[in-house]
Amino acid sequence: MAFVALADLAARVPDGALLAIPPDNSLTPAAFARALVRRGVRGLRLLGVPVSGYVCDLLIGAGCVASLQTSAVSIGETGLAPRFARALAAGTLQVTDATCPAIHTMLQAAEKGVPFMPLRGVLGSDLIAHRPDWKVVENPFASGDPILLLPALSPEVAAFHAVCADDEGNVYVGRRRELATIAHASQRTLVTVERHFPGSLLDDERMAAGTISGVYIEAVARAPRGAWPSGLLDEYEADAAHLTEYSKLARSDTGFADYLARYVTDAVA
């Protein structure tokens, strides 16, 4: 597996793809999302794993997104996601609500290659009535015990920002094991990294424990500080001031256009 340029990585996402993305502070692929905006991708069906933040709001604002499945949308301390709220109000975004463990469970079913998986809780929530793809059945191992079954969900493409990758395509995510489940469940996984790791990540027991095998990874691109304005593990902290600036600018169409021009469209990364 060879490293590719960031723009080439973005070019691998087809219009209309079901794209799984982790949220702020979970190795979110922010530089990759900006590259997707520059590439002009359209009609994405985003999946927040299990919630959504800056990357999602940015892609929605830039007109890249047709629909969003997520358990919540929230950016920074204020929680405001202005472009999401605006697109929802304007009727230009189709939103499918879920709850965090349901999204994990649907991906786990795909990871395991089974058509569904059960989940406790959730019963009584109006989420179920709005999810014709979810089913409540009687637990076959007991009587009078209704339980929710969730279908397997296999994203066409998953994208996240990891710490490093080696020449075999193994990528290091540390203790954020949810990224492994996303990669296992998805048909194709594209990863940006801070840097190249010399040698094999599988050779060192300590690195291997936080590594996702290259068997799941289609391509990798270098994107230093590629999670910014989110933080990345113990590498760097979130840029709270920038997220506040984003939320402020994104409240208006012109402010958001300003933001795109300053940080996305004309930027190299």
Binding site: T99, R120, L127
Partner: protein, 245 residues
């Protein structure tokens, strides 16, 4: 002078320590929950042998299995107490984190349900917390149910809300209905009733929510503040001022 936030923290701490409730050996606190987090630190630094799992810590993330681990822990019955809020809360303790108007929130859109639909049924004790106490938030019936306050017979459920703490009062919840437990200074039974959209029980005479003790205040302003500063800088500045703990 006692800050209103300090009183809310102490009220939640008292609920955590309630000897009538099932034991709280492991408490999880979600993101953006400064007051519940402070209450947990208060009981822990006050001597309760309790494990705290605080989400979204920059350092010392307690989860080594990713963001799924909290939900698996709850599913296994290893989380005893959790905190939830809601854009709307009704008299059956239903929580709406979706929005108002038609689904999925054509009026006001709230952030989304997060893990509430799961955690509310899976954890033995939930303390509801919402600082804003108004008829806008505390409604007769939520527009949409993110997480159900009560369940039909036969539905597996480990527990319900224990209580609801607001900026005006503390309500207890008996699994079916709220009952006014105490009002904060400046409030009365009538002022609370006037601002509450749902019906609830109340004693003849409303108790006062107690002040934090001097020992609690010392803990809050010293070691609790110190542990909160990195995760909730804005909150700490607002409540305890610029000086580091």
């Amino acid at each position: 002078m006692i800050q209103p936030e300090e009183r809310l923290i102490a009220a939640i701490a008292r609920l955590i320590l309630d000897p009538a409730a099932p034991p709280a050996r492991h408490i999880a606190v979600g993101a953006a929950s400064a007051i519940p987090a402070a209450a947990c630190w208060l009981v822990k630094l006050g001597g309760l042998d309790v494990r705290l799992s605080l989400l979204h810590l920059q350092r010392k993330n307690p989860f080594t299995e990713g963001t799924r681990e909290l939900f698996d822990l709850a599913g296994q019955g290893r989380i005893d107490l959790f905190f939830l809020g809601g854009g709307q809360i009704d008299g059956q303790a239903n929580l709406n984190l979706i929005g108002t108007g038609d689904w999925p929130g054509t009026g006001a859109r709230f952030p989304g349900s997060f893990g509430s639909a799961f955690m509310y049924l899976t954890v033995p004790r939930t303390i509801l917390f919402r600082e804003e106490h108004s008829r806008r938030v505390l409604v007769p019936k939520v527009d949409h149910i993110s997480a159900a306050g009560v369940s039909a017979p036969g539905v597996v459920r480990r527990g319900t809300a224990q209580a609801l703490v607001t900026g005006r009062c503390v309500f207890g919840f008996d699994g079916a209905r709220f009952r006014l437990a105490s009002v904060h200074p400046g409030e009365t039974a009538d002022s609370v009733r006037a601002e509450t959209g749902f019906d609830y029980d109340a004693p003849a005479e409303a108790a006062q929510t107690p002040d934090p003790s001097p020992a609690q205040l010392a803990l809050l302003r010293g070691p609790v503040h110190a542990r909160m500063a990195a995760t909730y800088p804005a909150f700490c500045r607002r409540v305890w001022g610029e000086n580091a703990a």
